[in-house]
Symmetry: C2
């Protein structure tokens, strides 16, 4: 027992885990603790000599002003939670990087939460709250009850690419329906008469909006008997979906509308490789998102690009406004996607 204690002591001496405090720095520098605080506080006054002594002592002790402790005093943690679901949708990582960089320009750090599926949100919600973040950007949908829990904790929330239509919430979205309506309008105007839709995961509200937008426009244009098959946003599921379409329809449709680019790429490959079809001569295929691979020459998708830069900028500024001014009324911002005429589909405007 004595030996174990001794070992523990040696260990702790070898690797000092205790962090230096402002008092330790004050003692070594021969100044008061409040002088140390002043040196590390933006805009507070301290003489050059004082500053030099404190910084030298702080450096020697490995002392850093504790952003977290400061947060406890100011009631601000300077951290926000970003919740993303781990879908195979390639554009989310880009969103994440954009959000992180923009928040960091405001001195705010991103605490990252990932979900396997949007429906797993309950498990992370409690964690989000325990870390006392100043705000939340969520790319997963919340229920009324979940939103209420966060609001009770006075934490502002921005929905990213989602919204609760009948509720006062802040949201930043790409106009999924408008984008799909444009694609369908273009395809029909170019003479396509039969359609199939490859929708995304069932718990993805984005996929639901896209499919609804496409269906609605097709209906308005008197296109009937549209086959809908399901994918999971991934490449393999796009290939499988195309095979399923072929199996279920007597003749292949004139056009396939995929709920994202990656599944559209899967459809293109399955059409070419397994069925020796030419894209777009034999069949038109369109996607959504505008991810990097959509621009690879082998695919050159006709698609709608989400304006990720503008959307993340809006999410960051809306959240910061609401952290600083909690009384601000809710706002929903909807961005139109960029329309891209690629070589994967024959579109009316592309023929001009």
């Amino acid at each position: 027992m004595a030996k174990r204690l001794k070992l523990a002591k040696e260990n702790s001496e070898r690797s000092p885990r205790k962090r230096a405090t402002s008092y330790d720095v004050a003692e070594l520098a021969g100044v008061s603790q409040s002088a140390v605080s002043r040196v590390f506080q933006d805009g507070a006054s301290a003489s050059k000599d004082m500053r030099d002594r404190v910084l030298s002592a702080a450096n020697k002790l490995g002392y850093r002003p504790n952003a977290i402790a400061r947060g406890l005093i100011t009631q601000r943690s300077n951290m926000v939670a970003v919740v993303i679901s781990r879908q195979t949708n390639l554009y989310y990582p880009e969103v994440l990087v954009q959000l992180t960089q923009r928040f960091s320009e405001h001195g705010i750090r991103v605490l990252l939460f990932t979900l396997d599926h949007e429906r797993d949100i309950d498990g992370v919600l409690e964690q989000v709250l325990q870390y006392q973040v100043d705000g939340v950007v969520t790319a997963a949908i919340l229920s009324e009850a979940q939103l209420e829990t966060i609001e009770n904790a006075s934490i502002p929330v921005i929905f990213y690419n989602r919204t609760l239509p009948e509720r006062l919430v802040n949201s930043v979205r790409c106009d999924q329906e408008e984008g799909e309506r444009w694609l369908v309008g273009q395809l029909v105007a170019a003479g396509h008469k039969t359609f199939a839709i490859v929708s995304g995961p069932e718990d993805s509200s984005v996929s639901m909006e896209r499919t609804r937008g496409a269906l609605q426009k097709l209906k308005e244009l008197n296109i009937k008997d549209v086959l809908i098959v399901n994918g999971d946003y991934g490449y393999a599921s796009g290939r499988a979906a195309f095979a399923e379409i072929q199996q279920k329809m007597k003749t292949l449709p004139d056009a396939v509308i995929a709920a994202n680019d990656v599944m559209a790429i899967g459809c293109v490959d399955e059409a070419r490789e397994t069925n020796y079809l030419r894209v777009p001569e034999d069949i038109s295929i369109v996607g959504f998102d505008g991810v990097g691979p959509a621009r690879y020459a082998a695919y050159d998708l006709s698609t709608v690009r989400q304006p990720v830069g503008r959307m993340s900028e809006a999410a960051v500024s809306m959240l910061i406004e609401r952290i600083e001014n909690p009384g601000l009324s809710p706002e929903k911002r909807v961005f139109s996607g960029d329309r891209i005429l690629g070589g994967s589909a024959i579109l009316a405007d592309g023929e001009k």
Copy 2:
């Protein structure tokens, strides 16, 4: 003035920013503050009646035990910093998601730091330290001085896909050189005699290791006059690099070795579209990483896949071990990549 005060008061009543404390909960529940603590502490005892009263009061007040404050007491923040550079290398987002999910299984949250370039690390380092994280996983290289600063703060560091060869550091890497040596060996054994290399960004240590590995093996096999051109890991730079190779060499090489898959895809498209070359019949092209698009049928790259799952698992367990036991000696783990025989290159093993 009186009116403004009144408005401010109303605002603050409407949106109470002050968070409820354990004392507020204790008062409402009619119990002691230590009873509240016990209810929220894992494994501590509390009667069912006590628990119900406390939880009901906590819910009413929107109270959550403060993970951050708890961290100040335990000297653990239960947060780790993950530093990634914002390169166009597609596999980083996957690494990030994997790390975040594995840390969260241990109750540890990821505070995310992104860099535009690896050399920007200085700016974020101070921030990393101020947030008093328990540890750091960095996919950006640190200088000796930077590493020393972190170590002085008693924060363990794991280098991801990087290392400092002459220093006692913890690192998890894919064996870049071994992977390139295998690719070169396969290409030469299949009869390729002339080569060009598309390397990545100049500040990427991963790209340097890959290029070095390829060059070394080519030299050992008596292949001379290897042209090296530079890209930035992005698709467009791969296309530009292929055009540059064509311009600089009198005849095209038998094989192009790209430092990552995305540039290899750019090379394939440039070879096909601009030069009407067949891949691999006219020219072999290989990549590295094993990202999703490398498996798209139009490219089907011969490449080496980084075992991201095993590497991130190793990084997480190594960091947690060192947080819990700071005296642990350093360890460098090197994982071999998975060798993928694709259709983009004629390789010796592919001909068997």
